[in-house]
Symmetry: C2
Subunit: 478 residues, 2 copies
């Protein structure tokens, strides 16, 4: 079936080379994509060819979140990217950032659309957007991730579309698009439950902005999620037990408020374990619907889910795509300024579950930097959800580097989330409920519940020394 | 005029001693009050008398924000408070916290009502609430601060009212009360401009909960704001110049989005300088309306203002109280879960202006701890506004301790606001616009614009050393 239903837009079909020629040295280019889904797969390669052929070509790239290797990887290796805003998770891009070759600015994902509309990034010269198709009236059908597409369509001077046949056609109708205005034209986001639709399925687009359209059939190159290991299962079990105890104590309602779960294996494992629990009638309000969200919907455990991206392991992708229509009415894909909106997260009392690299005795969390200076991926939406949530949970194994390093440390080497935004911390060892505790109380509880036994003695010694040398007792000494 | 218009409530009038007798050892007691306004002024003294007479009396105190000396001070000196949640700014309470005698848990002010309703603080045995009066149907008329009064009325088992004659009767009608339900009964906060009313002027209260009522005529003991010094004026001028430049560049609309300004002299000075600027048709969405907000309304510069507390210097208080009726329709006092709601702050694109104790080369801000362990006051609403804002500004003098310490340091000793929530930093030396900059770019700009000249060389040396020894360049080395 023809994916470009508008004759006007079809007339703009061209070659990748001709399309990419609109991108010039020094431009600021916005790209679609969110956690390895829905990003441009062809134009970045064209740019790399030009660079390799000797052209002087450096651009600033803004993306809602990470792109796959055909984009972030290709551009990083070609040395095209001078600055990169948003989030990334590509190993070559990460290496270039850590070498100081790419100037990467890490941000809360909820901020990106606002910043672009307010002009904080400067002018967006051009946007490259993957779409599932184009409707009769020239509106865009988003791919399996919405991210900042509506904002790019609004803000970019020119637009290149990559119409990708590999995007399942049945994604049409899953999207719920609204595009917030800025002050003084403010408006509430009228979402009061995760599955609620408040917008339209399509992104309205001025056809005059579209300067080129190409057809592609390239798959997303997101990674396969690892099967849960023993640590992940233990973490997930602690969380399920905690949920049940909180429901019994009247501090959480049953059914639970909507769940958010970060990106990656641990986040997926936590949700997987919920499938085996007694908890029913769950809902999900998150940024990325990973494999487990679909398992839970299939099992009838999750009634509805909201996300900005559906990031499926390659091994299960085709199976889900084949019956994607079954999820209509239960799954909603929203712009990331809505999926990650503090407004909605706070209103729904979302239970946020995010992963830490390390955490400290006061409950501060480092989720981005290994050893304090080396960037792993980025902040992503962890801050949007942790801060906005009704209950904020962080998870990590108690040790790293084959058990040689404790993930509970005296002071984290980089603070992404302060003690005020970390209420529950969970390792495979146990769960610490830090709500309403002071710094020293947190320290004692974290050592007791979350530290690996082999590190407990030295951590206790640090606390004792801090207490002995401190002049004031509201925070731990350094 | 009789302030207690309900016969049923009048019948509960009793002596302070009898009222205070409902408070027993070990109870959790909620108290009204916000930044030294609208707190109980009599019952705490009664408790202190009992303690001094030898009674075993320790309680947990939850307050929306700080109380004046008749409450936080009296209770701290008497040794009554075992735990204290919220925010405080009393010197004796601060000292007791830093000695480790009072277990103080610092929180985002937007969280307190949610935590109480969700049961995270446990049961609230009793609330002591100052009111301006009681209506015919037994509803409460809040004093000059709302804070968590609606939540206390909802959650506390029993209520003691202090009906204070010194509260200006004309405060009636300035309040706009809504009380948010938790999941699954969620609802949008339908505020789209600061002066908009979305609730009712009164707090509905179950008369059976009210166990005692006393009459008082004690003044709030908040401090006089200092007149702006040269540093404050310089900071304010940098900000006004910046606003004008941003408007010219199209990155801020004119009129500006609503302004938030923190608590204290610098915050007040910044607003005062706006009165002398060319900026017109301003609005304010903040937690505390200080002196300058009234000056700006009087000057016609501020059209409408929303806050949870009006904290006026004693020297101007009576003058404002005498014509408080003039502010009807322009000034709205809201519960703090609304004044500090991330939902509304984000929606309105509020310009947040908060004060730092110190800030670091990456742009992280310490706003609570002197030397890393000694609590100053607390986080207050700074995190609510900085994170939620459309633009986040932090201010401080470039030096402390009579110029001997630089307030720009390599790494802050305590992180309250991460680099992701601090876009503009201003000292008397200048203004650094950190938007879209990496860690090293931030460091260079902060030294250039904000550092005191006498500390620039050693800060530059730190950056050079960091660059030389770093293995990765996404954050500064420690």
């Amino acid at each position: 079936m023809e994916r470009i239903r508008s004759e006007i837009i079809r007339q703009k079909l061209t070659t990748p080379e001709a399309a990419a020629s609109f991108i010039k040295n020094g431009m600021t280019v916005g790209m679609s994509g969110f956690t390895g889904i829905g990003y441009p797969k062809v134009i970045p390669g064209e740019l790399a060819k030009r660079k390799e052929a000797g052209e002087d070509l450096k651009i600033t790239v803004i993306c809602g979140a990470s792109m796959g290797d055909q984009s972030d990887g290709v551009m990083a290796r070609a040395g095209i990217v001078s600055r990169r805003y948003g989030f990334q998770s590509n190993k070559d891009m990460r290496a270039a950032i850590n070498r100081g070759e790419i100037q990467f600015v890490d941000m809360h994902l909820s901020q990106i659309a606002y910043w672009m509309k307010a002009g904080y990034f400067g002018k967006v010269d051009l946007a490259v957007i993957e779409v599932a198709g184009v409707t009769e009236d020239g509106s865009l059908i988003c791919p399996c991730a919405v991210g900042i597409i509506p904002t790019l369509v609004r803000c970019a001077d020119r637009i290149i579309l990559e119409v990708n046949e590999k995007v399942p056609a049945a994604v049409e109708g899953l999207h719920d698009i609204i595009d917030l205005d800025l002050a003084p034209n403010t408006q509430p986001i009228m979402i009061t439950s995760p599955g609620q639709r408040v917008g339209t399925p399509y992104v309205k687009c001025d056809p005059d902005k579209i300067v080129a359209v190409i057809r592609t059939a390239d798959e997303n190159m997101n990674a396969e999620l690892k099967a849960p290991d023993d640590d992940m299962i233990a973490i997930a079990e602690h969380i399920v037990n905690f949920f049940n105890a909180e429901i019994a104590a009247g501090r959480l309602p049953n059914p639970l408020p909507p769940l958010q779960s970060g990106v990656g294996g641990v986040a997926n494992a936590v949700l997987s374990q919920l499938a085996k629990s007694n908890l029913e009638n769950l809902t999900v309000y998150t940024e990325v619907a990973q494999d487990a969200v679909f398992d839970l919907m299939d099992a009838g455990k999750v009634l509805s889910a909201s996300a900005t991206s559906m990031t499926l392991s390659p091994s299960i992708r085709d199976g889900i795509y084949a019956r994607l229509g079954d999820y209509q009415g239960r799954l909603v894909l929203r712009p990331q300024e809505i999926s990650n909106a503090p407004e909605v997260i706070k209103r729904l009392g979302v239970i946020a579950m995010n992963t830490a690299i390390e955490f400290d005795l006061e409950g501060n969390v480092n989720s981005t930097h290994v050893g304090g200076t080396s960037l792993m991926n980025g902040l992503g939406g962890s801050g949007d959800f942790a801060r906005g949530s009704g209950l904020s949970i962080f998870t990590t194994a108690s040790t790293a580097k084959a058990g040689t390093l404790s993930c509970l440390v005296p002071h984290v080497s980089h603070v992404d989330h302060t003690e005020h935004d970390t209420q529950i911390i969970v390792t495979e060892q146990g769960l610490a409920d830090l709500r309403g505790l002071t710094a020293y109380e947190r320290a004692d509880l974290l050592i007791e519940k979350c530290a690996h036994p082999k590190f407990k003695a030295e951590l206790r010694e640090f606390v004792a020394e801090s207490r002995a040398k401190a002049k004031a007792f509201h925070a731990l000494a350094r």
